[in-house]
Amino acid sequence: MKMKETILEIKNLKKNYDELNVLKNVSIDINKGEVLVIVGPSGCGKSTLLRCINGLENIQSGDIYLKGEKISNRRKDMHLVRQKIGMVFQSYDLFPHMTILNNILLGPMKSQNRDKKEVTKEAEELLMRVGLLDKKDAYPRQLSGGQKQRVAIVRALCMHPEIMLFDEVTAALDPEMVREVLDVMLELAKDGSTMIIVTHEMQFARAIADRIIFMDKGEIIEESDPETFFTNPNTDRAKKFLNVFTFNTAKGD
């Protein structure tokens, strides 16, 4: 049996916002090629968790290791760490003053000093895979939300990260555009990317996840495989949460 390679280890993470305890003793390990989906009610800390991994928030105690190297609470060279972590946000903020292609090229060329031709070739291939090659010279304002989000994913991929983080990337999109983004993410999962996905899209979560983590009020309540979680969750809180997504018809039948 092939040895599992642990990409990310989060140990006893604790984070506060002023007085408020936002993350309480969170520990997670993620292996290469694994797709982890985190679900939970608003304010449970799942977005904060992702931001802590990427160093956009500081943590009060606990450690995070990326392939064995400690990355938590780093003062120096955090940018080198971030090159290995790809993150896609809910607000599809591409850089408005650059073309789509330049948006994608900026990271690899400026922080990784890669050759322009090589990166351009890769960028164009990825754009073609997501069906947006014809937009490479357009500006973000000319694209729809779904298209911008797909470009954001390509932009993160071009950095060749070890792990990809997705923070509710479809939450701000119109329903018609959600699917096209989720399809891209499914493809990535099939290709064997290591991903942590925070989402509200339950059917999508069920389809893509290798493992589901349910969080509430800053702690992990339940952790299991998707089938178990969605058909027969162990904890009451998880049951209550999933109930939110089922409706009885209003007319009572």
């Binding site: 971030r82 946000f89 003053h97 922080s111």
Partner: protein, 219 residues
């Protein structure tokens, strides 16, 4: 209207105009540099220095240029610092302009969403790279209207330099009125001189603003 008079003294106006423009140019350049520095200091909230910059801005924005010039030209010599008219004019203009430019740039900086910065950092760019490739380009384009207004404002402010013996347009006009009583001609040439200087700049900036708005910055 004495056209001969106008013809005779046009060169004098042109020369004075050139002096005005030259000082305005240096003053505006200096203001931009000071303004950029101050705006970055305030944007990044660098302790202590930020306070000093704040005081500087309030002082220079709430006092007239004329007084600043008088202080430099008449007051400083009393403590041994003697500046030429031109030097006083430039220093005064930069002192005043620096604070106006600083506020223009700062509003540009603050208009760039924090999420843009985070986006840049997430790609693994250093702080410096984020400032250079993500923050500044967007901040500058947002600042252009205020920047344009400041440029025009500063050029207008140069009209007080005659008070410290600088042979600029106002000086020439006043001189000619006093010497030859050709008030109408002198004033007409004065108005035309300023129109020639300021109208093109004003129109240029309007066009620039419109063009940048089409380039669509912001979602």
């Amino acid at each position: 209207m004495d056209l001969d008079f106008i013809q005779k003294y046009t060169p004098m106006y042109i020369e004075a105009g050139v002096i005005t423009l030259r000082i305005a140019f240096i003053g505006i350049l200096g203001s931009i540099i000071i303004g950029l520095l101050c705006s970055l200091i305030r944007y990044y909230k660098i302790p202590i220095i930020q306070r000093l910059v704040g005081i500087y801005i309030e002082l220079s924005r709430n006092t007239p240029l004329l007084i600043q010039l008088f202080f430099l030209y008449f007051g400083l010599p009393k403590v041994g610092i003697v500046l030429s008219s031109e030097a006083c004019a430039i220093v005064g203009l930069i002192f005043l302009g620096g604070s106006y430019m600083s506020e223009a740039f700062r509003s540009g900086l603050e208009a760039v969403h924090n999420s843009q910065i985070e986006m840049g950092l997430s790609l693994g760019l250093t702080r410096y790279q984020v400032i250079r490739y993500v923050l500044l380009p967007q901040a500058i384009s947002v600042s252009i209207p205020a920047f344009a207004a400041n440029v025009i404002f500063l050029i207008k402010e140069t009209s007080v330099f005659s008070a410290v013996a600088l042979a600029d347009l106002m000086f020439v006009a006043k001189d000619l009125i006093g010497l030859y009583y050709k008030t109408n001609e002198a004033l007409l040439m004065l108005v035309i001189a300023y129109l020639i200087i300021l109208l093109p700049i004003s129109i240029l900036f309007s066009l620039l603003e419109r063009k940048l708005r089409y380039a669509g910055f912001g979602n």
